[in-house]
Symmetry: C2
Subunit: 354 residues, 2 copies
């Protein structure tokens, strides 16, 4: 059936065969005069090794400049030390802040984080997931609010733990989520403006197909209706500063409102800029409220009144929830509800008396 063949050439010189390792665990073992098992165990501290032996191994590692091949390790153990983190827009400061906290936590547990960017495209979220599946990541933080149908199932089928930033449906030992109470935040914002005396309040939303944009938009509508306000104007933009600018310019083109609530800070920046370009002073002529409390919001001029998501916690909580599932410390995923807090700063004031 098949021909017999001499074993292929093995490493004989110090050079690499077929582009292989410069120095591997075998070399270290030889140098230290121990078996490769011992080296492995010293490296991973997976069983007791006599101190002198361990020291010899470590010396050999040092001398040879050995570095463990993680691909091999991952293959042998069947799981990778890389976690996936998928975000909507790495250029929106909200996400770097989250990313940093997530990474810092991961680092403490010797995990790497592969950050992927979808640009708010649900299709790309699934693409990213597929790529991460190939890497056999043990866990995934999907911190985008947009997703294709079937995404959650795709992940679960691979037995990968995941934390979502939206409601992924029924929980399981593989599924957790972090839910921000967008509605409450928007309500606070509207209440604040109403209490200041505003009646013409407009809203600049995110792209209407995004879940998080929908929630905020819907909450705005409900709150305004509850207040019995008819004068309610809504434009949809795209969560970017540019979008905020153009959204605002549309609002100002006829019957300008006295206050604008923006679905995120980035759009609020754009809106502030637009207002000034039209000669409106903030907050004397028009009040602006943002959402997210990205670190820049306090450095804008005037400092932006915004609905704060506890962003320092976001990345940490996501990691923690993921880690618990990966290490099976929970029989079931978690639902983490995150409240918001209105930070009143100088971009809001009572409307001008006419």
């Amino acid at each position: 059936m098949t021909g017999f063949r001499e074993p292929r050439t093995k490493r004989e010189t110090g050079f690499r065969v077929r582009g292989r390792e410069l120095v591997n665990i075998k070399n270290v073992a030889d140098r230290a005069g121990v078996s490769i098992a011992t080296v492995s165990h010293v490296l991973n501290q997976t069983r007791r090794v006599r101190p002198e032996t361990a020291a010899r191994v470590r010396t050999a590692i040092e001398e040879l400049g050995y570095s463990q091949n993680l691909a091999a390790r991952n293959l042998a153990t069947g799981r990778s030390n890389i976690l996936g983190l998928i975000v909507s827009d790495i250029q929106n400061p909200h996400f770097p802040e989250l990313t940093r906290n997530f990474q810092d936590q991961a680092l403490l547990h010797n995990m790497e984080v592969l950050v992927m960017n979808t640009g708010y495209d649900p299709q790309r979220t699934s693409d990213c997931v597929r790529r991460l599946i190939g890497l056999r990541v043990p866990g995934l933080a999907i911190m985008t609010t947009e997703y294709d149908t079937g995404l959650v199932e795709l992940v679960a089928r691979q037995n990968i733990r995941a934390v979502y930033y939206f409601n992924p449906g029924p929980l399981s030992p593989l599924i957790s989520c972090i839910l921000v109470n967008y509605g409450e935040g928007i309500r606070e914002a509207v209440n604040h403006l109403e209490e200041l005396g505003h009646r013409q309040i407009a809203f600049i939303g995110g792209a209407p197909h995004l879940q998080s944009a929908m929630y905020r938009r819907q909450a705005f509508i409900e709150q305004m209706q509850a207040r019995g306000e008819g004068a309610m104007r809504i434009v949809d933009a795209d969560f970017s500063a540019e979008g905020g600018y153009y959204g605002c310019s549309r609002l100002l083109s006829s019957a300008p409102p006295t206050a604008i609530v923006c679905a995120n800070d980035l759009m609020a920046f754009g809106a502030m800029h637009c207002c000034r370009d039209k000669g409106l002073r903030i907050p004397q002529d028009i009040s602006i409220v943002g959402f997210d409390n990205i670190s820049f919001s306090q450095y804008s001029h005037p400092p932006l009144t915004t609905v704060a998501i506890p962003r320092d916690k976001l990345g940490q909580l996501a990691f923690k929830a993921l880690w618990e599932m990966i290490n099976r410390q929970t029989s079931e995923g978690r639902v983490i509800q995150l409240g918001t807090r209105l930070l009143v700063r100088e971009s809001t004031a009572p409307p001008r008396k006419n």
Copy 2:
């Protein structure tokens, strides 16, 4: 010497032994009625396969929901499909912009990007490199300006291609770099202010141990001296908005300058904020210039005059240089010189007449 032992249990049921793959290349091969080799070649298009055979394989892949194990692939080929990107501060918008471009390019070439953050700590740069070496990344973009001695050598010894954001010493087929002409940028900034009539120009620098901070600081000193200006005040901060704020407050505490050049935009934001807190109007009472042209600089109020690094190109150029080396399209690394351009916006104006 060693005992004989029956071969360990093999996969017999559809279940996993020792936590292994749910579906692997073998399963696909069996299902398609071909050999493993054929599946591999269909997957990677590394040799001609009869169309019908290929189709059968693809059907099997589809039906089984097979996803290639990249750890195994990487182990077998001896190189990973992950590139490392090390940045100083993912929360400084300069870096997300760079990151995004780099990642977009990488994606086009089926590469993943592992982004790591050093927080401006040179020690952490080396740590990151070591972790990436373990992953056997084929290439590394070290876009930090701070580094330990020996870093370049550490990387080169592992035969890893790298692009640096500083001058790494002699080039080699493994080493490229992107050098921003900081000095020229600072000179433009100072010239601009001088031409407006400013004589008391101060400087807020980055952390003094960083190379990029040094360059900018030095250029400022030289340019001021060349102009024969004695009234030159310099404070060192840390490239953050907070740092800019406190640096500025120190400058304003005695003999306030009429203009401030900041070593990056983030510090300029902080400085602007501080000026306003002290009752100074920008630009009437004091002019501010930034450096980097992060996307927010045009949304600040007033829009920030800044020295622009062509940031859209930065990530792309870094990737391109790396890719060329990885594919040995160049016999030698590249030195990419990047010029800057002063964007005059509304944060600068002639000094007030006394």
